[in-house]
Symmetry: C2
Subunit: 276 residues, 2 copies
C-alpha cells in the first residue's frame, strides 16, 4: 500500500508521499514514490505513484528518457499546457501497464497504478491532476484543493477541515505531514520516511524538498506536538450542559501540563485489567 497527497493552494503546490512498498506482510521495502522533473525557469513537474511498483518505475523511467531526448516530439518538455502533460503522462502510464499485462497475463497480479501529477509551465498557473489507471485524469479545484492516492481514509479528515485555497503553503505542508503521520500510525502498509516537495507558484522549480525520517527533528516534533495540541483542543471544546465550567474561561491561557506520553516502565498489569 501507499499514501500520497497533493495539495493546491493559491501560493503553490505541496506533494507528500510515504516510501513503503509491500508485496506481503513480511516483504516490506522502501522505494521512492515522489519524483521530480525540474527544468528551472521553464517548467517543473512532480509525479507521485501508487499501485504496482514495476509499472510506476517503468512509467517514470520512460517520462525521464523522453524528457532527456532532444529529438522527442512528445515529452514533459514539449507541451505548452499542463492538461496536455497530464494526458501524455496518462498515455505513458497505460502503455507501462499494458507491457506488464502482456508479459504476465495469467499471474493474477494487478499491474495497475495511479499517479498524481502537479507542476507549472511558464505562462500558466500551477495545476494538480490525478491520473487514473485508464489514463484519464481529473484536476484539483478551489472546491477540491487536494488529491490523494493509496490509503486515503485516515488522512482525509484533517485535509477536509484545514485546506482551503487561502491556506499558506507551509501550513498546507504541515497539514500534509499530519495527514501522513495519521495514516502511518493507523496502517502498517504506509511507512516512513516521508518525501515532501513544495512548488511555490512562479518559482518554476521545486522550491523545497526534504526527506523526513522518524528521528528527523522536524518530524519528531510534529509527531509529538500534534497529539498534545489535539488533546488540548479536545479539552477546550464546548462543555456538556452537566459539566462545571472550565476553571479558565479564556482558552488562550494554557491548561495544566499533561502527563508525559512516554511513561516509565511499570509492572505488567496482567490479565485482570484487560477483561473480567
Amino acid at each position: 500500500m501507499t499514501y500520497c497527497v497533493g495539495i493546491e493552494v493559491d501560493e503553490g503546490l505541496v506533494f507528500a508521499a510515504d516510501t513503503r512498498t509491500n508485496a506481503s506482510l513480511d516483504d516490506v521495502r522502501v522505494h521512492r514514490k515522489l519524483h521530480v522533473f525540474d527544468y528551472p525557469g521553464e517548467r517543473v513537474f512532480v509525479v507521485m505513484s501508487a499501485g504496482n511498483l514495476a509499472t510506476t518505475q517503468l512509467a517514470v523511467a520512460r517520462l525521464r528518457r523522453d524528457a532527456e531526448d532532444p529529438d522527442a516530439t512528445r515529452s514533459l518538455r514539449t507541451f505548452r499546457h499542463l492538461f496536455e502533460v497530464a494526458e501524455y503522462v496518462g498515455e505513458v502510464l497505460v502503455a507501462s501497464q499494458v507491457q506488464a499485462y502482456d508479459s504476465g497475463q495469467h499471474s493474477g497480479v494487478s499491474t495497475q497504478a495511479t499517479l498524481i501529477l502537479g507542476g507549472q509551465i511558464a505562462g500558466e498557473r500551477p495545476g494538480l491532476y490525478l491520473v487514473y489507471p485508464l489514463g484519464n485524469c481529473i484536476a484539483a479545484s478551489p472546491e477540491t484543493p487536494y488529491l490523494q492516492i493509496g490509503e486515503s481514509k485516515y488522512g482525509k479528515p484533517i485535509l477536509d477541515r484545514i485546506i482551503r485555497p487561502e491556506t499558506a503553503l507551509e501550513d498546507a505542508a504541515r497539514c500534509a505531514l499530519v495527514s501522513l503521520d495519521s495514516t502511518i500510525r493507523s496502517n502498517l502498509s504506509v511507512g516512513l520516511p516521508i518525501d515532501l516537495a513544495l512548488v511555490r507558484a512562479g518559482d518554476l522549480r521545486v522550491s523545497q524538498q526534504v526527506r523526513l525520517e522518524g528521528d528527523t527533528a522536524l518530524y519528531a516534533d510534529i509527531h509529538e506536538n500534534w497529539s498534545r495540541k489535539l488533546e488540548n483542543a479536545v479539552r477546550t471544546l464546548p462543555r456538556f450542559p452537566w459539566e462545571p465550567a472550565l476553571p479558565v474561561a479564556d482558552e488562550s491561557v494554557a491548561l495544566p501540563p499533561l502527563p508525559p506520553r512516554r511513561a516509565p516502565s511499570r509492572p505488567d498489569p496482567g490479565d485482570q485489567s484487560a477483561q473480567q
Copy 2:
C-alpha cells in the same frame, strides 16, 4: 453503513453512534443504533449495532423480551459477569442472523451484524466488548481502550491520538463526537443525529444520554470550533528550517483571527480557476 464507537476509560464508558441506514444511495433513513438496558443500582448495558438492520432489531428485541421475562433463565439480568453477558449477546446475535438467513437464503443479501456491548454489573468494574457476527467477542483493554464498528477509518486517528485510560470521561465523549463528526463529513452513509451515552463507573445506570442534531447548540459549537482549533494547531506546529520564526513565539498567545469559514456569496469563478 454506520459508525459507532465505544470507549473505556478509568472513569467509565462512552458510547456514540450515528443513526443513518441506507439500502442504496437513495434509500436513506434514520434508525436508532444505540440501545440502553438500564437496571439502576443493579446493572447497566448499552448495545450498539452495525450491519443488517432487520438482524440487529430482532436481536435487540429478543434481548429486551428476555430481560423483561421474570422466568427467563438466561437474560441480561441473570448473569453475574459481563463476559457471560457478552457470550449470551453473541448467541442472540447468531440466532437472529440464522433466522434471517434461513428465510432468505438465496437473495444475496447479507444478514450479518456486529455489535458493541458495554456496561457494568454491581461488584465488577465496567467493561466493553465487540461482538462479531460469529457470536465470539473481544474486550477493550488499557492498550486498546476503544472499539469501533462500521465505517471506522476516518474517525480512528483522533481516537488513536487522544484516548488513554487516564482520559477524563467527558473529554473521551468530546473526542467521540469529533470522531463521529469527521466520519459524517467524509462518508455520505454516516449521518446525523448522533446518539451519545455515558456510563460513569459505579453509577450502575446510564449517567448521561443525549441526542445531537446538526442544530443542537453543543454539536454546532463542536463542529465549528474543531476546525478552528485544528487550523490553529497546524499553524503553531514546528516551522520548517527555511521559514522565518512565528511572530509570537509563545503559542499560548492567540494567533490573529482567521477569515470566516462561511464566506458571503461571490461571483462564480467559472471553469478558469478549476483547470488550465
